[in-house]
Subunit: 326 residues, 2 copies
């Protein structure tokens, strides 16, 4: 069986079984946004890695080297943020380079990375540079100290809790479509795609205020909320009308002739946090993070999408349609 | 200027200037085998990453998936070993896969990695799998707790100290040539290439016994000793006759019609430790690691190679010749 036949998520499941769940000082192994281990003093460290491949995760025709560096670090910091924030963190960069890449471009990439690190408490500690004739890749790893002994795991959501999302969803996908069509990199949605903001403070505050589970939106709201459901053994109901979509996203979607909710549900790469919490904690979280309540955790499994009248809506990558209507 | 015009080491120098040397809790930034940072309790962590690219660092026509996994982890553990050993360590793996790779092959790679981790105190904590249509890459990062507050840095060698090497040099290169020619993977030199042994215990003991500087032999004795010289602001003299070459390497070199000393000087990928230490400490290290004394640290700069009569020998990648002889 080939890797392409079973897909990334099934392959990850197979390897997770091989690696095991952790144990001892490895508090949380493969399967969450970050692994967690304990230092000699008992303090928790979150540890994560993400690789980006040219032509798969970025396109240099509309991604500047500066934003590539910024983004490569930001998406990793977002993984730490979704564990409940972090104190200090250290990054290493393994860079695979085609020989024809300009030295100035690589420097610019590092400047973008350093800018992100300065903004979000991360020191870039070094790395490795190798030849990669088949194409560019940037593999960042990140280790960061958690501030206490608690953290947000994907598997902690419980039925009856509410589901919240920080910021807006869909901007990044729309920004990417805009850029791919030759649009200006200064458009707010383009900036959200090129320079995602790791939700470090929001993750930390959510943990303080009693959030239970968290994940960052990298693969799209439906898929990422699906991960929380699987790991927690629960279902989820979300309300289409409550999904936070920005004014800029609505306007850009109209200009592009597409549906902003589709971008919000499937787009991914927003690097907002999806959180779950009991109702009273949710109220304070909604106000203080801030965040939007978009639905609730249920018994059962899978994510159900509801329209304004509470009717179930069937959502696919190509659109969504109402159930039971002619 | 293109990356291929200035080469890997010059590019690394440029990026090191951009990243800086460290400071604060980042005790040692870019430029050693591993970065070092302090946890909240003041304890030191070593942190390193190495990427391997298909067709550049490994060739699947003679590298099994099992050995690829083993080796990808071992070369990173070797970087920690050269900082003076480590207690516990955690690895993450970012894997770039062509779609046509068999799932069983990926599992086999992880089994190799787990076997290495079990043998050398490393937990594989998870990672990332991405599509990489341009070719396979394996990027491993590793964080490991140092056991005390001291470590071995490239920049600590001082004139008058002796230079030591653990194990044998050249086996890996000869093993690779043997494999590339269709030779049996069970040959001792082939095994040394496919399953390098991180010198964890040796690094730890060397630090205890008073070693000053260390580096692992990944790029070849001359180049790696050259790194110690540059970082320490010293020169080095080594004696051809004292370079440890195994019986198997001599025999294989004879069979292949090549010079085992060339493989030892330039071959690389032996993952032995090069160490420096004052004379009295060197004696105990030589006996207890064990290790071979191969030369001494001098004033000046660069590595000088001496023959049996103490005459300087000119060494190039294509061979070596005596100075001042007709």
């Amino acid at each position: 069986m080939r890797a392409s036949d079973i897909g990334e998520f099934n392959l990850i499941d197979i390897l997770r079984r091989l690696l095991g769940k952790g144990g001892g000082d490895l508090v949380c192994g493969a399967g969450d946004d970050a692994a967690l281990f304990r230092g000699r003093d008992g303090g928790l460290w979150a540890y994560t890695t993400d690789a980006m491949v040219e032509g798969v995760h970025f396109d240099l025709s509309y991604t500047s080297w500066h934003s590539l560096g910024y983004r490569a670090l930001a998406v990793n910091l977002s993984d730490l943020a979704s564990m409940g924030g972090y104190g200090t963190s250290y990054a290493l960069v393994a860079l695979g380079l085609r020989g024809d890449v300009e030295v100035e471009a690589v420097e610019e990439m590092y400047r973008g990375m350093l800018e992100c690190g300065e903004a979000f408490s991360c020191r870039v500690a070094g790395g490795d540079i190798v030849r990669s004739p088949g194409g560019l890749f940037v593999s960042v790893s990140l280790v960061g100290a958690l501030e206490g002994d608690r953290y947000l795991a994907r598997g902690n959501a419980r039925p009856g809790e509410l589901i919240l999302a920080t910021g807006f969803l869909g901007d990044s996908r729309l920004g990417m479509l805009w850029l791919a069509g030759g649009g200006d990199a200064a458009h707010p949605c383009a900036l959200r795609h090129l320079y995602p903001r790791p939700r470090r403070e929001e993750g930390r505050l959510a943990l303080q205020l009693g959030a239970t589970a968290a994940i960052d939106v990298s693969d799209g709201l439906l898929r990422d909320l699906g991960h929380i459901c699987e790991e927690s053994g629960v279902g989820a109901e979300i309300h289409l009308d409550d999904i936070p979509v920005s004014r800029e996203a609505r306007e850009l979607a109209a200009a592009l002739g597409t549906d902003p909710l589709q971008a919000a549900l499937h787009g991914g790469e927003d690097y907002e946090l999806l959180l779950t919490a009991a109702e009273d904690a949710s109220e304070e979280m909604a106000e203080r993070l801030p965040a939007s309540v978009i639905g609730k955790v249920t018994e059962g499994s899978g994510v159900t999408v509801l329209d304004r009248e509470g009717k179930r809506v069937e959502v696919s990558r190509s659109g969504y349609e109402h159930f039971g209507e002619e």
